[in-house]
């Protein structure tokens, strides 16, 4: 009996260790930038934290508001900002990926309908271990640089 309970405790611990990326990743400050009139695409931004022991990759993002969803980044080549798709966004163990304008972001391409300020767009992040997580991103009017900028200081 004693052994059994020890086994149970052991299993509980290992469940923690072997939890999928969806359980060890937390997302903060998620928002979608309200697209200006006539802009067919916009970005979703957030801070993705990996609290787990293993490095995690976001391989895919999906949302229902646009026809296409892609993972993107920007390259600054001599002052020319070039937006390019990336195959994955990696978040090292005990680290975070900051998705912000002019940098890594989730691109919502070909919006099905104009968005309104305050709308909520559910975005599904799919990880490299097969797990996935849905986060709610609020549509925000582009004015001052929003919250994720605060995280710049502890980005490495």
């Amino acid at each position: 009996m004693k052994h059994l309970s020890l086994l149970a405790v052991g299993l509980m611990f290992s469940a923690g260790v072997f939890a999928g990326a969806a359980d060890t990743v937390s997302v903060q400050d998620a928002y979608v930038r309200l697209a200006p009139p006539n802009a067919p695409a916009t970005g979703a931004f957030m801070v993705i934290k990996n609290n787990g022991e293993k490095d995690v990759k976001v391989l895919k993002a999906d949302n229902s508001a646009s026809k296409v969803t892609e993972l993107h980044t920007h390259l600054n080549e001599a002052g020319v900002m070039k937006m390019r798709p990336v195959s994955a966004i990696e978040i090292k163990s005990k680290s975070e990926a900051v998705l912000k304008p002019g940098s890594l972001h989730i691109m919502l391409i070909d919006l099905k309908a104009p968005m309104k300020e305050g709308d909520v767009v559910p975005i599904t992040l799919s990880f490299d271990d097969g797990s996935s997580k849905v986060i709610d991103a609020k549509v925000v009017r582009p004015t001052v640089a929003p919250a994720p900028m605060d995280h710049m200081s502890h980005k490495h």
């Binding site: 802009a39 695409a41 798709p85 002019g102 391409i109």
Partner: protein
């Protein structure tokens, strides 16, 4: 004994070299756009929703010039929202001395009407304008603006336009004064605008 000291010194040196290799990241020098002939600036005339708009129309005002396009998914909105937030922080008498032009380098998709809606979303004072490809290419050359189409299947219309993302500052006399770098936060945009406003031509 002396051998130990030597070994100690050697060890310290090795650690120092290793430390330097690990932690020393030399600052890369700023890559400047080729100066000389390319950034002469100068007058031009483009088409806006309310007719032709010329740089000469704004003599006596500080003119902010931004080159982009409405299909731009991230860079233009980032620049324009920072700049317009900066404009909002100006005192009314300061704002009255500033004009801003959003010049589309994608005339194929950006009609003047479309540009007007887009620009005014950021700030009512921003004027959207564009021209013929030849006209735009000639202006771009004089201002040191770079833009190039890139085929991207998923983008609306099948292409994106890579472009320089600094905001050009033209003085009250029409002379090109300088640039405000992309992603400059609004409070620093204000500092830059004030600096140029108080600069004697």
């Amino acid at each position: 004994m002396s051998e130990r000291i030597l070994l100690g010194i050697a060890g310290l040196l090795a650690a120092l070299v290793l430390g330097l290799a690990l932690f020393w990241h030399p600052e890369l020098p700023d890559r400047q756009l080729p100066k000389a002939a390319t950034v002469a600036g100068g007058d031009f005339t483009l088409e806006s929703a309310s007719g032709p708009v010329s740089l000469q129309d704004f003599r006596g005002k500080l003119v902010l010039l931004y080159f982009g396009y409405t299909y731009c998914p991230d860079i233009c909105p980032t620049s324009l929202s920072a700049t317009s937030e900066g404009l909002r922080q100006l005192a009314p008498d300061e704002l009255a001395r500033v004009a801003m032009l959003f010049v589309s380098v994608d005339p194929e998709r950006d009609t003047p009407g479309r540009l007007k809606e887009y620009a005014e979303f950021f700030h009512p004072q921003i004027i959207g304008a564009t021209g013929t490809s030849q006209n735009l290419a000639e202006i771009a050359k004089r201002y040191g603006v770079f833009y190039a189409r890139q085929k991207v299947e998923t983008a609306g219309g099948g292409y994106v336009v890579d472009h320089t993302s600094d905001t050009y500052v033209v003085g009250t006399d029409g002379a090109l004064l300088g640039k405000i770098a992309h992603a400059t936060p609004p409070d620093q945009v204000v500092v830059a605008i004030r600096k140029y406003l108080n600069q004697k031509p």
